[in-house]
């Protein structure tokens, strides 16, 4: 299965014009590997592939794509959901939102791959 995250027009009451994603690329690729290994511990049959755009991304375009394959659909769903939650937690990627009248860096979570509570929350959301 595939999860595709699309750039939305509306965010926090602002009308988005476009986004620019910035990544610390070698660390981001390492984080994707880490996420795949974490998922494999919980859903051993599932295989993950993760891709995230960088640079300018227009409205309606995909910013992130996750593919999860498994003989069992429950594991594919769980691994895929886990991956998107975990990307938001630990992937060193930043969203620069350009809207009518300005721009703003969106800042979410302080990335800490060793935070066991965050990991547990991602597993919980993955709906085993």
């Amino acid at each position: 299965m595939h999860f595709v995250g699309l750039v939305r027009r509306d965010n926090a009451g602002r009308r988005v014009a476009w986004l620019e994603y910035e990544a610390y690329e070698p660390l981001a690729l390492g984080a994707f590997d880490r996420i795949a290994r974490e998922a494999a511990r919980h859903w051993p049959a599932a295989h993950l592939a993760i891709h995230h755009r960088t640079g300018r991304v227009e409205l309606g375009e995909p910013s992130v794509v996750i593919a999860a394959a498994s003989p069992h659909r429950a594991e594919a769903f769980a691994a895929c959901r886990f991956a998107i939650e975990r990307i938001k937690q630990i992937a060193p990627i930043w969203k620069h939102e350009f809207f009518e009248g300005g721009k703003v860096w969106i800042e979410g979570a302080t990335a800490n791959p060793d935070d066991e509570r965050a990991l547990a929350e991602a597993v919980r959301r993955a709906c085993e």
Binding site: P26, K88, A111
Partner: protein
């Protein structure tokens, strides 16, 4: 010893610099490097409690020692993936 400091996203905008080399004392840790950077760019001080750090493109704790030639990156809170409406 000498390390390369990298700043990303809003940290880079605030400092006006993405990457620069700095001399750091022997025995320095990630935290030492941050303190030097924050002293040089006071607008970064507010991020002290919310940054993450990496050493040579691997996440590292504040207490991790740094070595000559290391690339030390400081990362504001991340926001990759999809919008956080849920």
């Amino acid at each position: 010893m000498r390390v390369t400091v990298r700043l990303f996203a809003r940290l880079r905008d605030l400092a006006g610099a993405a990457e620069f080399a700095r001399e750091v004392p022997d025995g320095a840790t990630i935290e030492t490097v941050w303190q030097l950077v924050a002293a040089e760019f006071p607008s970064l001080v507010a991020y002290t409690r919310s940054i993450s750090a990496a050493r040579n493109a691997e996440y590292a704790k504040p207490s991790a020692p740094v070595a000559d030639g290391d690339e030390i990156a400081f990362l504001p809170p991340v926001s990759g993936g999809v919008d956080d409406h849920v």
